[in-house]
Symmetry: C2
């Protein structure tokens, strides 16, 4: 089919090696030679066959990024950041989504495009530690997301418990009494409770309140519809909270929609805090207070981890990096006027003091959570 090095060599009347040298920009080639070869390349429209190169070199320069759902803006935004971070190391990213199904997560972690991806960044939901332990695939794997595993792989995640506690504390500081939690999962109960739910419990307990479990609503998924349904269920039960802490922004958005439909006002009747800081939460007629994980840092740490292992620096020690996060206070918990401009986080720049992991290898990256924006002395 295509034109190969050999064809070019023939045409230019030189050896294959010389052409290869030109293609790879080897320093020691006479300008004359280079010109001659280049001409042949242009005439023939030669393009190097990367597949062959990959086979030869044993690596492809492709890493995979697998998330539950690309339709969730958090993962879409994260995917964008990962693609950019990878590009900085000359890696290309293969994005896949698992629909949060354990089976697909397993498949991806086990045998996904074996030997064509150099490594994998995976954000699992249903995967279990034992699935990971039994992993055959030898290419490096970096885990993202809320779940923590007792498996020998790098894990990048903000301190979910602490972040959740920060959110709940904010609501408590506002004087809220009945703080609901939306978004615990209905399925697979046996597995440890969500860290965010634990944060909710811990912070309430620390404040001397008995966590009211009737204010915890499980959802089937993590989407807006789930949030809307959960909020409706809570209200239908006659348990009207005066604040809601949602598992993520989408659930919070859905909850706010239900509140609007029921004629309740945010934040006056019900204050709402989300988690993720997707861009959408900075718009809307009531902007959303939320926990903002440093997505750039997460992407960078994940890619850097992977790239470092790919570079052959064999480090037995799997590492846990804790990127920064902060609480961004917006209208959904703000003063009742609901007219102030959204406080837009200075994304990327003066953001959290996440460990700088640019070129230097990432080491002990347990960064202190960023100072929260506005600890808000009780209203």
């Amino acid at each position: 089919m295509g034109v190969s090095l050999k064809d070019v060599a023939q045409r230019a009347g030189v050896s294959i090696k010389t052409v290869s040298n030109v293609v790879n920009n080897y320093p020691h080639v006479t300008p004359h030679m280079r010109a001659k070869v280049q001409q042949a390349i242009d005439e023939l429209g030669y393009r190097p066959n990367l597949t062959a190169r990959h086979l030869r070199k044993g690596r492809t320069g492709i890493i995979a990024f697998a998330v539950p759902e690309l339709g969730n803006p958090y993962f879409a935004e994260l995917a964008g950041a990962v693609i950019d971070a990878a590009a900085r190391h000359d890696y290309t990213v293969l994005v896949d989504h698992t629909a949060g199904l354990r089976e697909r997560e397993l498949l991806v972690s086990q045998e996904f495009r074996s030997h064509v991806i150099d490594g994998l960044i995976l954000s699992p939901i249903h995967l279990e530690t034992e699935d990971l332990i039994g992993r055959q695939e030898t290419s490096p794997l970096v885990l993202l997301g809320e779940r923590e595993y007792e498996a020998p792989y790098d894990q990048i995640a903000i301190d979910n418990v602490a972040a959740a506690r920060t959110a709940v504390r904010h609501l408590l500081d506002l004087g809220r009494e009945r703080i609901a939690f939306l978004g615990s999962r209905t399925d697979r109960e046996r597995r440890p409770a969500h860290l965010r739910l634990r944060g909710w419990r811990e912070e309430l307990a620390a404040a001397g309140r008995e966590p009211d479990e009737t204010l915890v609503v499980a959802t089937d998924g993590y989407g807006r519809a789930d949030g809307a349904a959960a909020m409706a269920a809570l209200l239908d039960r006659g348990r009207r909270p005066d604040a809601v802490f949602a598992y993520n922004d989408l659930i919070a958005m859905g909850a706010m929609r239900t509140l609007t439909e029921r004629g309740l006002t945010v934040p006056d009747d019900v204050a709402v805090v989300g988690f993720d800081d997707i861009e959408e939460s900075r718009y809307g007629s009531v902007t959303l207070t939320t926990i903002s994980p440093d997505k750039q840092a997460i992407a960078r740490l994940a890619v850097d981890s992977l790239v470092e292992r790919l570079s052959g620096h064999v480090m037995a020690e799997p590492r846990r990096a804790r990127p920064g996060y902060r609480l961004v206070v917006r209208e959904s918990t703000g003063p009742a006027e609901g007219r102030q401009a959204a406080r837009v986080p200075a994304q990327g720049a003066g953001s959290a003091p996440a460990p700088e992991a640019g070129s230097a290898p990432v080491r002990e990256t347990r960064s202190v959570p960023a100072p929260e924006a506005g600890p808000a002395p009780a209203t």
Copy 2:
């Protein structure tokens, strides 16, 4: 490094070919042989090297999907649909984003992972016809998005002019007088006006109105912030419209946010129509009326086109497919109560009568635009 066919063959005491047969599930292998080989495979933890297979077969089973910005939910949702559609044909998708930069669009279309991707689905913004004409790469390319090119490549896009006209007609039917257009581009003016802007002009003209060009606001990009800024600019100019047709949903969202901040009510003071029907537009305290392109159909048509050409069916004739769309009327142009439930489109199922392109080859796919939901007799 890895364990190869040869290793397995040695271990099992058979030839390479036999192992290959087992791995590829060839029919004519004795059960005994198969078992023996399988055992060796398991013992050695053999995983086929797909890179080698790719080199040998000349194809990889990977296609690329390049969009301007993964942070735009429209593209993220589309990417998800493309991934799923590709999976149905056993293709994996490599997602990239171009930031809408012509340079990167060019790069992607020209030499992106040459020979490792079998084909490319590209949604360009700044690419010009001549860029496409001069394309060296021989792998198939399918174009998505608003722009139309005089180049020999398949193009999948809804009828943007007609869709825009539908949106504007809806606003006219509502009795709106001053309909603004938000989101024409400031740069590269020489290139033909956006089709959606043309639709706005045409429909106004058809209604006997002189399109008021002072109601057209250019934006730098296609995000929420651009919409917010454009709306603010328009209001600051003292040109208060009673309706807004935005280039896309994000711009519409930003515009609505500005309207809220300025104390104006949607839809009472200003009705708003978007374009894309991202999920977000179905939530929010005022749900958004929007043009809903059939994303599933777009993804399916694009992937099917690509796969068909990849299958060697050489069809000289490039094709233009026109997936369906519909107008989904929601609160942002609805009756002023603003309390009715959002009319959620039956995504996927009873949606537009888009050409069924499941397994059968896609042929003449100029589908009639789906019947719009609620032509809304003038208020």
